[in-house]
Structures are given as C-alpha cells and as structure tokens.
Symmetry: C2
Subunit: 451 residues, 2 copies
C-alpha cells in the first residue's frame, strides 16, 4: 500500500513494489548484497520529492537515495525495508548562463552529460572522475567527489554555487542564488555537500563553470625518490602558480602493471621506483620543459618525457588510466582511498608494503595517488576474502598514526563506518549526530550510512 500512496504522488509508472524493482537498483560496483527494499520511487520534480518525504517522515519509512551508485562505499544500496528513491528522472540541464559561466542542473544529471553541455556552451565543468559516464551531479555533491582536477579547481564543493535540497520532513531548501559572495546567515549548501544524503536530498544545483584551457602540457617524469617527487611538485607550483592541473604519482608496482595492461611497454631506458604524470594548463608551452630540465640537472628528475602531440598526451594518460583494468583483473580487491599530510605519504607506502607482505600473505598492492591533494590510492589484491579485516586494520591504523584520513574522496557510506573513529574524534562524531538528529529526527534518510 506504500506503493499506492507513492503512485498518487509520482504516477503509477514511477512507483514500484519490492518485486517490481529492476536488478540495477540493487547492484553497485562494490559487489555488495542489497537488502530487500519495500519499493522504488522515481520522482520527477522537487515537489514530488518533497511529497514523498513528507509521507515517509510521517510513516517513519526509511529511504535510501540513489544517484549513479558509483560511490564505492555501498551507500546507495538498499537495506531491508528501505524505500529506494532514485533521482534519475531529474536529470535535465535546465539552464546555462554563458555570460556568467553558470549551469543549473538536476541532481540526476550524469557528469559526462553536464561536461559535454558545458563544453558545447564554450565553458568547462572542471571536475572529472573515472565514473563520469554513470555518476550523477547530485551524487557527486552528496559525497563531495574529487578526481584528477582537484589540484587546480578544487573538489565538488568548490564547483557548487547554489543548491536545492529537501529535508527529511519534506521541507524544500532552495539556496539557488548564484553569487560567489553571499554572507547572509549560514551557507546552508555547505551542510548538504559531503553529508552523503543523511541531512537532505540534493535535487538541483547551480554549478560554476570555468573558461577552457588555453594550452596544455603533459610530461611523464621518473623521480629519484619520494622526497624528490615532493620537491618537484613544490618547484612546479612556484614556477607556474595556478597552472598545474595534475600531478599523479605512480609507484613501481602500479606503473609496471600499467605498462603491461596498457600494452605500451616501459617508456624509460632504466627502471624507476616512482613515475609522475605532470600536466599543466598554460599558454606557455616551454615553462614546463624548462622547469623539468632544471630538476633534471640537480638529480631530482631522473628522466622525463614531454608530450609533443595530442597522441603523446593520450599515451601518457593511458598509463594512469589503466587503473580500471588493473583493479578489474583482481579477483578479490580492497580499494583503499586515504589521505595524509604530503610529507608522510612516502613513508606510509613503504611501511604498508612491508606490513602487508608480512601479515597478509599472497596480497598484492598497487599504489598511486593525487599526492598534491595528500591523496593516496592503494588497491590491494587479496588472496582470500578472510584477509579483508586484517588488511583494513593494517592500513587504517597506519593512516591514523600518520595523522591521515581513512577516506579522502569516497566518503564513509556503509563500508567504512567502522573506521570513522580513526579519523574523527568522539566530540566530532557527537556533533555530527546532533546535527543529523536536529534535521532528521526520525533518522529516515540514508539510515546507517556514515554513522
């Protein structure tokens, strides 16, 4: 009968009982087992979202919010008894202000669609992640997604100028003002961004667009050691302030496998422990090579290949983008996404490799990261499922000891709940719970996620 009530709001074609929910709503790329939902609702506009939530709030009906289900933390998979609320119908690009560089989009809009629309309008939506073909703008806002362009343009938070969201009780909060500066009371959009759907459901956003790059320079550099990687980064940031757009460090375990997986072979004459993919967006094609030459001269850079064509550029990125194939080929994988102060990451990798080799027999890590953001990805292939808890304890304990975070980009969702206390104090978690209880007193929104 919940389906009848929902059908009265969204129409019969968009409300489904538990047996009519298509399998795709019960699946994500973490391979997790979904619970049995009470149904699925697909509202077509914000008023329908509000009406659905008013109903659920009154009935105490828990709701799980779905965007593209690419969040890596199982946050979007239903648990037993939850109503799935999918935003896929609210996917329109509603407006593009080509003078001011603003785009108004529905939460269900797929990232790649928004990127293309921005490009067609002569602008650029400056956030990009591997899941661009299926992740949604709303999901990226709810999880404050990162990606490869954070170094220059910031995380999803920095792209959001205005936001519309619906609270658990159905109240519509419309903060769609598109001013960069608006200090009138609390900046409510900041509360929703990154709260993983536990404080409200994001329904619409005004995104900031950037001008297209006027030039792009790419290089693949072998550096002497981790300290050299940090030194080179600092030099490039000083030599070309605000121009560095990617600095992707790949350890030998990753890079060696990426050479094989990409079918490109090893591009340097000698073997190196650390290779970094550098990208700048500058009108000056010579600034990057000049900076690299200086660093070659003093031994910071051991070898470097500078892209001289679009083909080179794509070839260099193929090493980094091989991560999908590498992880896909792992039978049992634990994808760690942690952050730490940049100075600590090199030692952290050394320590983790040694401990994992010793204490998780047969495991194989590949390490890479956006180190300028303090972000380390470590994809760990396990020999058996039973190794998961011990591997997690090793990695997250070491991250805590390094003053780091157990989730740099992906958030907490369901999978990382047990480790939240490794990165947040008792007082911080209590404050989060206070805010959550104030805004969703019955705890119906994404219950069991984050906390």
């Amino acid at each position: 009968m919940i389906v009848d009530a929902l059908a009265a709001i969204v129409g019969a074609g968009n409300a489904f009982g538990p047996d009519a929910v298509e399998p795709r709503y019960l699946d994500d790329e973490t391979g997790g087992e979904a619970g049995r939902p009470v149904g699925l609702v697909r509202p077509g506009n914000v008023d329908q979202v509000a009406a659905v939530l008013r109903y659920c709030h009154a009935a105490g009906q828990p709701v799980v919010v779905q965007g593209g289900r690419t969040g890596m933390t199982r946050g979007g998979l239903p648990r037993d008894g939850e109503l799935i609320l999918s935003l896929e119908r609210m996917a329109a690009i509603e407006a593009i202000d080509t003078d001011a560089g603003l785009m108004t989009v529905g939460a269900g809009c797929v990232l790649e669609v928004a990127q293309q629309a921005a490009a067609d309008a002569g602008w650029r939506l400056a956030v990009d992640i591997g899941a661009r073909g299926s992740c949604t703008v709303g999901g990226m806002i709810a999880t404050n997604a990162g990606g490869t362009q954070v170094l220059r343009y910031g995380m999803m938070r920095e792209q959001v100028l205005g936001l519309e969201a619906v609270l658990a009780d159905g109240t519509i909060i419309s903060s769609l003002g598109a001013m960069l500066k608006n200090n009138t009371g609390y900046d409510l959009k900041q509360f929703f961004i990154g709260s993983e759907g536990t404080l409200g459901i994001v329904t619409r956003a005004v995104l900031r667009l950037r001008p297209p790059a006027i030039g792009r320079q790419t290089a693949l550099c072998a550096v002497a050691d981790y300290a050299a990687a940090v030194r080179l980064l600092a030099r490039l940031e000083r030599a070309m302030p605000g121009q560095l757009s990617a600095y992707e460090l790949m350890w030998s375990d990753f890079f060696g496998a990426a050479c094989v997986a990409s079918g490109q072979g090893y591009p340097f004459d000698a073997a190196h422990e650390l290779v970094v993919l550098v990208e700048t967006e500058s009108g000056d094609d010579e600034a990057l090579p000049v900076a690299l030459e200086e660093s070659f001269a003093d031994g910071t850079v051991r070898d470097a290949l500078v892209a001289r064509s679009e083909r080179d550029h794509q070839r260099f990125w193929r090493f980094r983008d091989a991560v999908g194939e590498l992880v896909g080929a792992m039978a049992i994988v634990e994808p760690f996404d942690v952050s730490a102060p940049i100075g600590a990451i090199g030692g952290l990798v050394t320590e983790l490799r040694a401990r994992l080799a010793r204490e998780v027999p047969g495991s194989r890590p590949i390490c890479f990261g956006h180190i300028a953001d303090g972000n380390l990805h470590l994809a760990l292939e396990l020999a058996e499922e039973a190794q998961r808890p011990v591997a997690e304890a090793i990695v997250y304990d070491a991250v805590r000891a390094a003053g780091g975070s157990v989730s740099a980009e992906h958030g907490i969702g369901i999978l990382k709940r047990a480790w939240l206390g490794h990165s947040r104090s008792v007082a911080e978690i209590a404050m989060m719970r206070t805010i959550r209880a104030a805004l969703d007193p019955k705890g119906i929104l994404n219950r069991g996620r984050v906390f």
Copy 2:
C-alpha cells in the same frame, strides 16, 4: 561574582567586572552604542575557552565573542548583560609548514601579522582586506571575510584547511587535520565558517598558503559602459585563465572623488563613466597589454594605462584605496555591501542612483565593486540620520528584486538582521534556527546576531 568564577579559570588579570572593561571593548567602527556587559574575559588557550563556556552554559550567561571588532555589522559589540569574550591573547603563529604551505594560527592573530609571517616563510596568505591591521583570523573565519583577492583565491572559507572551535557547552571540536581531501563524515569546519560565532567560537585554524606571484601586471582602463566592463572581464578570464587577481570597477561618482582624495588628478584625457582597475599575476608581462589592445580596437576599452613600474602600480591602487578617506569624510554614512548576478549590477546601480536622488534628498552615493564576484559596494552619504530606513528599504528591495544578496561580505550581525528575509527564505531561516538550537540550546553565543 561571575568575575570571581572566571578569574578562577583565566587568572585575575584576565577577568574584569563591568566597571573595569576598557572603552576599546565597547567600540567599533560602526559608531554603535554598546550595552552594559557583565564583564570581560580573556582566555589564554582553548581549554580556558572551554571552561568559560561550560560555566556560561550552566549559568545561562550570554557571551559576545570579540576579534578585531572590524566587522561592520555591530556583531562584536556587547549588549546589556553579555559577557565579552576576547580572543586577543590567543594570537600566536603556532607553526608554519614550509614544505606543504600550511600555517597554524590562534584565532586572535591579526591578519597583517599572519600575512607577514607567511611572506617571511616564502609563502603567501592570499586574503586581504582593508582592516588588515586590526581584524583577526578568527573573526575573518567567523564571518567568511572576502576582500580584493577573492577572484583568484576565494574567500576566507577557501583558505581554511583545519579548524578548532568550542561549542556553547564547552565541547572542543578539533578538526585540525590539514588534508585538502578528507571525506570522513560531515566537514564540520564548514559549519562554523561564516556562522558569525553563533554555532561555536573559533579558537585556532590551519590556513592554506599559496606560492608568491611570479609577476604582476596592473592596468587602469576606462570602459565604454557596464556591458563593456562585463565583456572585458570575460575576455581576460579566457585569455589568461586563473591569472586575473583583481577586477575593481569604479563608477564615476567614486572615481571622480577618488582622484581628488588621492591628490592624483584625473588620469585620462576624457571623462569616463566607468573605470576598472585590472590586476593579473602572470609570468608573462605582455599578455595583459595585448588583451587590452584587442579590446581597445573594438571599442570595449576606451582608454587604458598600463603600469610600467611599481610606482605606477601603487598609483593605480591609490584610486581604489581612497575609499577609506572618502567614507571617512562622510558625516552620516550607510555602507552597503550587496551582491547580485554580474549581469544585473549595472542596471541596479542606475536604478539605485535615480531612486536615491529622488527619494532621499541630499544623499550622495559612491559606487564601486568586485564585480567579478558579483559584489557591489555602495557607500551612501545621508543628509540626516532619519533617512537611513528609507535608504535601506530602497537599496535592499532593489537587490532582492535583482535576485541578489543584502550582504556579500560583511555578514548580518545586528545591523542587517531586519533584512535577512530579503535574501533567505522562511525555510532557510528555519533550518538555520534548527541547527543553532541543536548546537546552542540556550542560545548563549552571540545571541541576537544573524537572527
């Protein structure tokens, strides 16, 4: 006896009764009348702040938090019966990480001191406002201060990587992790930034530093009209992405007076309605002149002076910086700080000038703004105090009609409370109050500010 209780926490030398409060704690630049406080307390560390708040929370004692008292909204002036809590003793620069570009400072640290310390360490704290000699880092965080460098580096929010704050009940929230990426639960620092001390007292911050500029180019341009000012801005942003660091538009009422006040005379051969101060930070000294020449050729720019020396640069900025003298010379002044979509600002100024001339006899506006941020400052000299309500209604009604904000940078404090509803919906304000009530159920922190 409250003084005795506080003296037991902070020492007798830092707790004062109402008669012992020095006049400077009762004064700010708005000329407002302070109420009679119950006393003044100057804690020396976060544990003392926590102990003071535990006491005040238990006693239901309202507290007003003081940084540099330069906020322009009267938020820091005590009202009757409030305890003044000054953070001036917590002003240390505690650490600078010269590798990662991070600075840890106490909330009471004066901006200029922090800027100098960053510069001494080979870095740059990229936020600047006129009150730099007395405003504090904590106050700037509490009000999300803006300034002239927002265009390139963002507002105060974008400079804060880690934050420590104390809740109304004395709970210390320490989120001092200095990672750019940390998606572990809610980003609590975002809640405190811009909340004007109503959700907690900021005690310490980790600030992000930037590399120094590698070059600087300054120009003073007369543009054809407001549309031309917007067009020139868009062109510069596209020609030099990420390099534009200031775009300060001055209307003739402002610029004419600034020429007199600065003693520099009118720098162009013909009179112009709109003059813009452009600054870029680039390694290429020729990019700006080339872009300006193209805009001169098609009539967008009517005349332009390009700085060829540090002296020129300072001379150009002196026009803009004359605002202090101009406002200081006004007998009765209402300083408006509003924002609106950039396309609407030109029409807004035209409309406001006409209406103010008609309906506020003898008033005189001067208009200038960081229009790239959608920010318009309008300082209005009034003929008499009694004109204030009518002038405010004219300006804020027009701003609301333009879809703008009644406070771009300064916040709400006490002075703009009556106008909050012009920029925020009933639902938004209710959500703010819900959060406020959850975190400060007795409403002791900065009571009567914002709401």
